[in-house]
């Protein structure tokens, strides 16, 4: 079985800090990591290989340094890794990103299951997975929380909706986006890390892909960011310190004023 996992390198969002004076992001010392949701996708792809056989290929689009995220994925147990990196891909919105990734997946040839995280930590759109499925003309299932079985070209899985669980079956090939309930991602072994360090990561540029070049990058992106700013924190709030009794009195009076006690 050919399994593809789509990943993205993102800044470690927990560490992103805003300079209170300039209202700008402090980049120094901010590390890049695999998008946290993609770790669940990588883990599930590897588990599918372990349960049902096959190979796992990780694919990512990003700047050259995104290679590190792919190596981290290989350290976990991914077999092959492809990086789509080209200035022509810059400024991609979700439509262009999904188009480019789907071209990369087409170039890989055969695929049975494509696994994506439910969203990225930086963009948080959750759109790229479903849009890849469209470009490949395959079905997709979002929010998958368990894969029960794959046999005779049919996957049985559960997914998590707002207020209920569903069990579904899907004919392969299929794309799924996974939620974190699906597994506990493994820590890479030392052996895995050594192997990943030496592994060959293929970089494909736009000319290596067969898609319509006008659909890549900013030219292929219907949306434009026209303004970006850091949100001014409100508020004319007050902060009080002091003895527990005293501050609790203030709190209690406030709740009384708000009419809930």
């Amino acid at each position: 079985m050919e399994i593809v996992v789509c990943i993205k390198q993102v800044p470690d969002a927990f560490e992103v800090k805003i300079d209170p004076e300039t209202k700008r992001i402090i980049r120094e010392g901010v590390d890049s990591i695999i998008n946290p949701y993609d770790n669940y996708a990588i883990e599930e792809a590897i588990r599918l290989k372990e349960r049902f056989g096959g190979t796992v290929t990780a694919i990512s689009m990003g700047p050259p340094q995104a290679e590190r995220a792919l190596r981290d994925a290989m350290a976990m147990g991914v077999d092959e890794a492809i990086l789509l990196s080209d200035m022509a891909f810059a400024g991609s919105d979700t439509l262009a990103t999904s188009y480019t990734l789907s071209d990369g997946i087409k170039k890989l040839g055969k695929f049975d299951v494509i696994v994506c995280g439910r969203e990225t930590f930086d963009g948080s759109t959750g759109q790229v997975g479903p849009e890849i499925a469209h470009h490949l003309n395959i079905s997709y299932i979002t929010y998958v929380s368990k894969i029960h079985n794959i046999s005779d070209g049919v996957m049985e899985c559960s997914r998590l909706m707002e207020d209920h669980y569903e069990e579904l079956k899907a004919c392969l090939p299929v794309l799924i986006t996974v939620v974190k309930e699906i597994n506990q991602p493994r820590i890479p072994s030392l052996k895995g890390m050594l192997k990943a360090k030496k592994a060959q990561i293929n970089t494909w540029k736009s000319e290596n892909l067969e898609g319509d070049i006008s659909c890549y990058g900013q030219d292929g992106s219907p949306t434009r960011v026209v303004d970006v700013w850091t949100e001014q924190m409100k508020k004319d709030g007050r902060v009080i310190e002091g003895e527990t009794e005293k501050v609790t009195d203030v709190l209690f009076d406030e709740l009384k004023k708000l009419g809930i006690v």
Binding site: G91, E119, Y143
Partner: protein, 397 residues
């Protein structure tokens, strides 16, 4: 190919653009400004440069005639044989756009036996309702819903299409946008019309909630967005006269039809924290699953629901449906009480529009205090038990 151009003669190497770039894409190489592969063409540097040394070159893209696209559509989500409250929030958002561009507002009903909801939508301000009913649409599925929606868009050419950024909206709307080959902005916190261009201006948090971005879709139609629940009030009764209901047959010709639902099971004790008027949330400072009892007791006393930060959920102290924040639920209660929550950007993104925010935290520098109406610097294990006691005593009298 679009690119940022540098006029090296004008550039004074003042480095303002380097500081301003959110992607770390500008550096100095060989004593010259250099744009590296991280560039996302966002154009912030162009605006920052005091010398006008930076410019953005856009290639001209041909596009279809967009002036024939008219109307403001919203997806009227329904579940369990009921219209969801978000349907009326989207209706209200659409009505606000109507004030600026004067185009008709139409609700989209997709499902089985959903025509009956049309009059509820027109009674609250919709000019039209498009309905696609089919037994295949009884249960939500990405492919069938996306096909139905795309079919309507292709036929009737709306200018704007919005949907709530619920799990259902976020699951199928991207496939609609891809089918139509148009832009889609996810999870907007606000939308409006630019007075000059009449384009839909879509505001959303990005970069993990650290930045706010305004996004437009200039050359493609419809302009599509999913909107975070609770950002708009529900629309009120207006009684719009005779409902104009248009029923369309579901076109199944392009369906792959590869997926079947075998079983649906309601979750036990579903927590719907989004609906609560009061939320008491616990974070890392709660320190132990047992201590959530204290949070729960306070919430019960105040007639509220229990929320949690990502840190508390990731530690396994409380299940995911309680999580408030960028990757959890967005809430907007009348009163939000944050207990032992430092207030990471990603938590703030999910609660900072609450009407009244109270924060209790040991650390006087905790970012949560910056969004709080009332901040209490104190130990939750001292303050909350005393508060609970006071409330109980007051109730006894």
């Amino acid at each position: 190919m679009a690119a940022i151009k540098i006029n090296h003669e004008k550039c004074t190497l003042c480095k303002l653009c380097i500081d301003a770039c959110p992607f770390g894409a500008i550096e100095i190489r060989d004593e010259k400004l250099f744009i590296n592969e991280n560039c996302n063409l966002c154009g912030i540097c162009v605006k920052t440069c005091p010398e006008g040394a930076l410019s953005k070159e856009e290639s001209v893209v041909s596009f279809a005639d967009i002036s024939s696209y008219k109307g403001i559509w919203f997806f009227a989500e329904n579940r369990d044989d009921k219209l969801c409250p978000v349907a009326f929030e989207m209706l209200n958002a659409a009505l606000q756009l109507k004030r600026d561009i004067g185009e008709d507002v139409a609700g989209i009903l997709i499902g089985n036996n959903v025509k009956k909801f049309a009059s509820e939508l027109t009674a609250r301000g919709a000019d039209k309702v498009y309905v696609i009913e089919d037994s295949m649409l009884e249960h939500f599925q990405e492919e069938t819903y996306a096909s139905a929606m795309a079919q309507l868009i292709v036929k009737h050419k709306p200018n704007i299409v919005i949907s709530a950024a619920t799990m259902i909206g976020r699951a199928f709307i991207p496939a609609v946008a891809a089918k139509i080959r148009t832009g889609l902005t996810a999870d907007c916190t606000d939308i409006g019309i630019d007075p000059e261009t009449k384009l839909l201006v879509q505001t959303r948090p990005t970069f993990g909630g650290n930045l706010m971005a305004k996004i437009i879709c200039r050359n493609h139609r419809p302009q599509m967005a999913t909107i975070r629940p609770k950002m708009f009030e529900e629309s009120s009764d207006v009684n719009n006269g005779q409902p104009d209901i248009i029923i369309e047959e579901f076109d199944k010709s392009s369906l792959l039809n590869n997926i079947a639902i075998l079983k649906k099971e309601r979750m036990q004790n579903t927590v719907v924290i989004q609906e609560a008027e009061v939320i008491v949330s616990g974070g890392r400072g709660v320190n132990d699953p047992k201590n959530f009892e204290m949070i729960r007791e306070l919430a019960d006393l105040l007639g509220g629901a229990v929320g949690a930060s990502r840190a508390a959920v990731d530690s396994g102290w409380i299940p995911y449906p309680h999580q408030v924040g960028q990757t959890g639920r967005t809430v907007k209660p009348k009163i939000y009480i944050a207990c032992g929550i430092s207030g990471s950007i990603q938590h703030l993104a999910g609660m900072q529009t609450s009407d009244y925010i109270i924060a209790i935290n040991k650390d006087p520098d905790a970012p949560i205090f910056r969004v709080a109406n009332l901040g209490i610097v104190g130990d939750i294990f001292e303050v909350i038990p005393v508060l609970i006691k006071k409330i109980k005593e007051a109730r006894k009298c």
